[in-house]
């Protein structure tokens, strides 16, 4: 039986960010579109997430290809995401693009893709949270329930916009000119403005964008999981994992924010000084 809800979600996850790419163009994918760069990592990430889920919840299904491919039965989000990110990074390295630069470049569009996936929860299971007067009535349920998945989608879109703004800020003229002023001191001939920019932002600034995206998703998932129905007492494994990722990424994000602010001040100073012979 084909899972049409999942099929629709996957089409939207690839299609919508590809449309958004018209307004948020990639800088590190000159010969590749968002779709080209993410489709294989997403598929592999989905399979790895499913394998991890089976390993924890139904180890008896190992060795049965049919069971392993039933994505609807559960996918562990963070292991899958980790593998997808590693594959994207590896692709960036193969293209001669900075690994973190590629990830930072893709982060806003990837967040839009994730928001779309959550938004498509209406067509799959797993959208509804607590019963209440505000919300929708899912099939087979007598009361209205708050659509947590839709709320997550809206918040993740906001995170995507914020991460995009962060990436643009990291790539704004003072920071970029400062970096180029430093570079041009060592260059002869070609001026900085004539270079084909395939790298986007780099170093701690790029890392800040990547970690901000991860922390944003982890925080949203950790908070949303509070309201999602589940079997049994206590926190579910996906909920615990999201909390762990959010807690781990928060200090890294803070440290990178301080670091980039310091670098930015230094680069602005270097830009105002100009190249030296």
């Amino acid at each position: 039986m084909i899972d049409f809800g999942l099929l629709l979600s996957m089409l939207a996850v690839v299609g919508v960010p590809s449309l958004v790419e018209r307004w948020w163009p990639l800088r590190t994918g000159i010969h590749s579109s968002y779709t080209d760069l993410v489709i294989l990592p997403v598929v592999v990430g989905l399979l790895v997430g499913r394998l991890v889920n089976v390993a924890f919840d139904a180890p008896g299904s190992f060795g049965r290809i049919g069971d392993l491919l039933i994505i609807r039965s559960g996918v562990d989000f963070w292991p899958g995401a980790l593998v997808a990110v590693a594959l994207v990074a590896w692709g960036g390295r193969a293209d001669g693009v900075g690994v973190v630069a590629r990830l930072a470049d893709l982060a806003p569009l990837a967040l839009i893709g994730y928001a779309v996936y959550e938004g498509c929860c209406l067509f799959r299971d797993g959208c509804y949270g607590p019963a209440g007067s505000i919300g929708l009535r899912p099939p087979g349920v007598a009361t209205t329930m708050f659509p947590v998945g839709l709320a997550v989608a809206v918040v993740v879109v906001a995170v995507a916009v914020a991460v995009r703004a962060l990436a643009r800020r990291a790539d704004d003229p003072p920071a970029r000119d400062g970096a180029r002023a430093e570079d041009s001191a060592d260059e002869d001939g070609a001026g900085a403005d004539d270079r084909v920019d395939v790298g986007g932002i780099e170093g701690p600034r790029a890392m800040l964008v990547v970690v901000a995206a991860v922390a944003g998703v982890a925080t949203v998932r950790a908070v949303a999981s509070i309201w999602l129905p589940h079997v049994g007492e206590g926190l579910t494994r996906p909920h615990l994992t999201s909390i762990a990722v959010a807690v781990l990424s928060a200090p890294v994000l803070a440290w990178l924010a301080v670091q980039t602010r310091r670098d930015r001040a230094q680069l602005t100073f270097a830009a105002s000084e100009g190249p030296t012979d």
Binding site: L11, S61, D125, G140, A142, V231
Partner: protein
């Protein structure tokens, strides 16, 4: 041109998928009646006629019953059974999980349960009538009967943890 065709095909596919996904199954008109019967005991795997099945449901009035129709040849059935087992342990006396093997060989179904270590009550649709009265169109299919015995929900295909918990919680309210 070919790119436009691809986009158009994607849009048509997405709309078709949306329509199919949002289509709510019409619930069968089955209403449990007859003499109350006990649930199959743990480790027991008996054949049930539709009257006996109906009696088992009548015997559980006062608490919701989740009926899961499965078969040993069905991959998604195998995938969701650990979730049903966890639900049976979690809801304990509040709600009942009842598995019914249908369109299957009884020995294969029995071996399937043993293989997965399933302990919640299970029976075998010995005449094929349970399959018919519940209008089963996909394997697995999960039905939720309320505490008053009325059929409240039907989920065709594998069920997710959130959906299962949401339906049971709703039936318990």
């Amino acid at each position: 041109m070919s790119r436009r065709l691809l986009v158009a095909a994607g849009v048509v596919l997405a709309i078709a998928a949306a329509v199919i996904s949002l289509r709510e199954p019409t619930l069968p008109t089955f209403e449990p009646t007859g003499q109350a019967q006990q649930l199959p005991a743990e480790g027991e795997f008996v054949g049930l006629s539709v009257e006996e099945f109906s009696g088992v449901l009548v015997g559980q009035e006062g608490r919701p019953v989740v009926v899961n129709i499965w078969a040993s040849w069905c991959g998604p059935c195998r995938a969701e059974m650990p979730l049903l087992q966890a639900a049976a342990a979690s809801y304990e006396d509040e709600a009942v999980i009842l598995g019914i093997a249908a369109n299957d060989d009884p020995d294969a179904a029995r071996a399937f349960l043993d293989d997965l270590g399933i302990t919640y009550p299970n029976g075998f649709d010995s005449t094929g009538e349970i399959h018919d009265v519940l209008d089963v169109r996909a394997f697995p299919t999960t039905y939720v009967f309320g505490a008053d015995g009325t059929l409240r929900a039907q989920v065709n295909g594998g069920i997710s943890e959130q959906r299962l918990a949401g339906l049971i919680d709703d039936a318990l309210r």
